[in-house]
Amino acid sequence: MDQQSAATLSEASLDEIKHLVSNRAIEGDTVLLNMGPQHPSTHGVLRLLLELDGETVINVIPDVGYLHTGIEKNMEAKTYTKAAVMTDRIDYLNTVGNNLVYCLAVEKLADLDVPPRAQAIRVILTELQRIASHLVWLGTHALDLGAMSVFLYCFREREFILDILEMCSGQRMMGTYIRPGGLWRDVPVEFEAAVRNFLKIFPARIDEYDALLTKNAIFLVRTQKIGVLSPEDALSWGVTGPPLRGSGVAHDLRKSQPYSGYEQYDFIVPTRTEGDTYARYMVRMEEMRQSVRIVQQAIDKLPYGPVRSNNRKYVSPPRAELATSMEAVIHHFKLWTEGFTPPKGSVYAAVESPRGELGVYLESDGSPKPYRVHWRTPSFVNMQILPLISKGVLVADLVALIGTIDIVLGDVDR
């Protein structure tokens, strides 16, 4: 390598990161090893700097930002309606949930009411999305531990859910189906049958995964007592979602601060007390069963009615009205050119995503564009416990620990 290209490729100087590694690394007693950003078991573009003593991990230094797309900055330059399209791209395994939390924030800011039918459909879709996200987690987590077949089964069932999402919005993943004030449009007629079909098939499929993994001797050895996280550590590191519940703290925003009518549905918040990788596995498996229960209740009492707020200052009128009403034409034109203008102020809305507390801080200056949007993403916060729980484990177990936190790099880097 010639002098110039070496200069342009130089990494952060050793002095800058010296304080992150132990003295033994400086003396050459331990090995510093780079893992990622292109690595099959880091679940995306995550780079880790490992300090190893033989095969034992002494220290892990995560390096994130490889998938940073500047969504927060870009959202400031778009109207509230157009910015909603970017929300799907943040956590690409929880697209409906991202739409939901953004819309909840806008609705809180603008004081908009959402009709009951729209709320029920939102719940059905976010719970289906939760199952789909847990299926990706389960498949890849098992794959990391050497169980190839689970991956194929999980992705088979995930297709059912993506088909339902496609049925509603025309897109498998990035649908932006949930909009401020309600939904884009009502669900198609075949929606109910498709959801019921999924509900009929899926519980038996969870039993299949159970049979493959829960008592599997290799899986038990690889997960039990690995990566133990105490409840005190979990709370002081701000961990939420399944990792927190796996450590015995029953905190779930769907129960404690219900949104979109979650208070109507009967479900339990599964917890385990061990705090290890196996406990987090059990929590997520039980969450899938609970999500099935919620969807079942929601589809059984799905109310009829409109799916969009009739506040014309925020939600554009139905297409049919444009032919007969001059006001409707004016509202339509204003909303799709200038956009709506919520009052000045700031709000914080949070939902329970498959990974934990997903929050949006939204600030308005009274103009049609958001003044500031901050995404409090669960992966970004949960990821910080990786160095803590991976001290002293083997490199092979580190792979299991990355999987058990269930990070999505789009969610970390935004």
């Binding site: 952060a12 800058e16 304080h19 992150l20 994130v64 930002g65 940073h68 500047g70 927060e72 900055k73 870009n74 330059a77 809180k108 800011l109 004081d111 709370l235 002081s236 590191w237 701000g238 961990v239 939420t240 703290v249 905190h251 404690s256 601060q257 102020g345 700031s346 709000v347 914080y348 949070a350 507390e357 929050g359 801080y361 600030e363 003044y371 500031r372 901050h374 409090r376 970004f380 916060v381 990821m383 910080q384 880097d413 935004r414």
Partner: protein, 170 residues
């Protein structure tokens, strides 16, 4: 307002001269930078706000001084409460005391604060950029930082524009 929240708000008002604001049922306290660590410690130890939900900032340039507001949100699981804190900061290179001692997950939030807004957290153990490349210039979420765009090149000024471009040269 919930009585537990009221007692926490009253205590902070009295001890740190905090101002209270309420919007859409959300309570925020406005504090001065010097007392943010003590205020967080009081909330954490005495009023059981165990979780730091978020820490971020807003840039009001050029309309307002102080230019920045650092925004914190703490959550109590015991009493099921959420409370916002806001700290106004002025200057081009503002500094805020780090709350890593109280809430450990503030670590990456404060690195992001430095990366995106150029607000230094004093006493932070590892203040490096987190999302942008380590040699990046500027702090992208500031309002005086433009959204990236390409200048329109014509035959007479193509070379001039090309020379200015930091990357992606043909």
């Amino acid at each position: 307002m919930d009585e537990h929240l009221q007692s926490a708000v009253d205590a902070l008002k009295e001890r740190f001269a905090a101002q209270v604001s309420e919007f859409r049922g959300e309570v925020s306290l406005i504090l001065v930078p010097e007392c943010i660590v003590d205020a967080c410690r009081a909330l954490h130890d005495e009023f059981s706000f165990e979780l730091l939900s978020e820490e971020t900032a807003v840039d009001y340039w050029p309309q307002e001084t102080p230019r920045f507001h650092v925004v914190y949100r703490v959550r109590s699981l015991r009493d099921n409460l959420i409370l916002g804190l806001r700290v106004p900061l002025n200057g081009i290179t503002p500094v805020i005391p780090s709350i890593v001692e109280v809430y450990k997950n503030a670590n990456w939030f404060e690195r992001e604060l430095w990366d995106m807004f150029g607000i230094r957290a004093e006493g932070h153990p590892d203040l490096r950029r987190i999302l942008m490349p380590y040699d990046w210039e500027g702090h992208p979420l500031r309002k005086d930082y433009p959204l990236g765009y390409e200048e329109v090149a014509f035959s007479f000024n193509q070379k001039e524009i090309d020379d200015r471009k930091p990357f992606a040269k043909e």
